[in-house]
Symmetry: C2
């Protein structure tokens, strides 16, 4: 990889933002520094950074792919499909799971930003209430 490119600026941007950004958001953020940069260049730069393991790429169910800088200490997420709430979990338990799979299969897992979908506690409670309501309603 070469040192001077959009890559560096993207990394700086992502390290400031510290969030999950879409390619378009990254594009708009870096335009202040590189007004002429092309969107496809951003896509390709992000792709490079992902391949290098510096940035995570994920579909969090929002309609477009999001990118995040991989700081030290991996994390993962639980995304509620009812309310969209995003919960963050550490790498410990995930890493134990990966280790077990690796032991069983000899496959070296590198997934660094796992996204699991489901229902958060609040929404579970809400649908429980709803169920009770339906039962007593008629």
């Amino acid at each position: 990889m070469r040192t001077s490119s959009v890559d560096q600026i993207i990394i700086e941007t992502l390290s400031k933002e510290h969030a999950h950004l879409t390619s378009l958001q990254v594009f708009e953020e870096i335009r202040s520094q590189l007004p002429a940069v092309n969107l496809s260049t951003v896509y390709r730069a992000l792709e490079r950074l992902v391949k290098l393991g510096k940035v995570s790429i994920s579909d969090m169910g929002t309609g477009s792919t999001v990118y995040e800088l991989l700081a030290d200490g991996l994390h993962h997420h639980l995304v509620c499909q009812k309310c969209g709430n995003v919960m963050t979990i550490g790498h410990e338990e995930v890493s134990r799971f990966f280790a077990t799979i690796q032991q069983q299969t000899q496959f070296d897992i590198v997934t660094n930003h796992l996204i699991l979908f489901g229902t958060c506690k609040a929404c579970q409670a809400a649908s429980e209430l709803q169920k009770d309501k339906t039962t007593t309603d008629n």
Copy 2:
């Protein structure tokens, strides 16, 4: 959901194919039975089936999203990023992992076709060889 629609035909197709199909492949498969069907209808039908938990939707790193019928007995995959090889794993270990996370977070995980990326055994061996070669080469 209504009984007569592309949904049923898609389910039949997927149960015959028993594979990971792209939306385009599904589209082409069902055209024999529904010559006039529109691609966006297929997308929407697949979306419905995914929401109903009858079909899984996944990005397996091939460039387009793939769909698969969810038969009883969930399975998951390990995808090698070097050779593209796809390994299948059962739900047991994954389910244990999910249970642990659910216990810790109260979050109910519904992910039904987990895709983990990494390097398969053969490719690990190959890169080991390569490393040795580099070391002795100079």
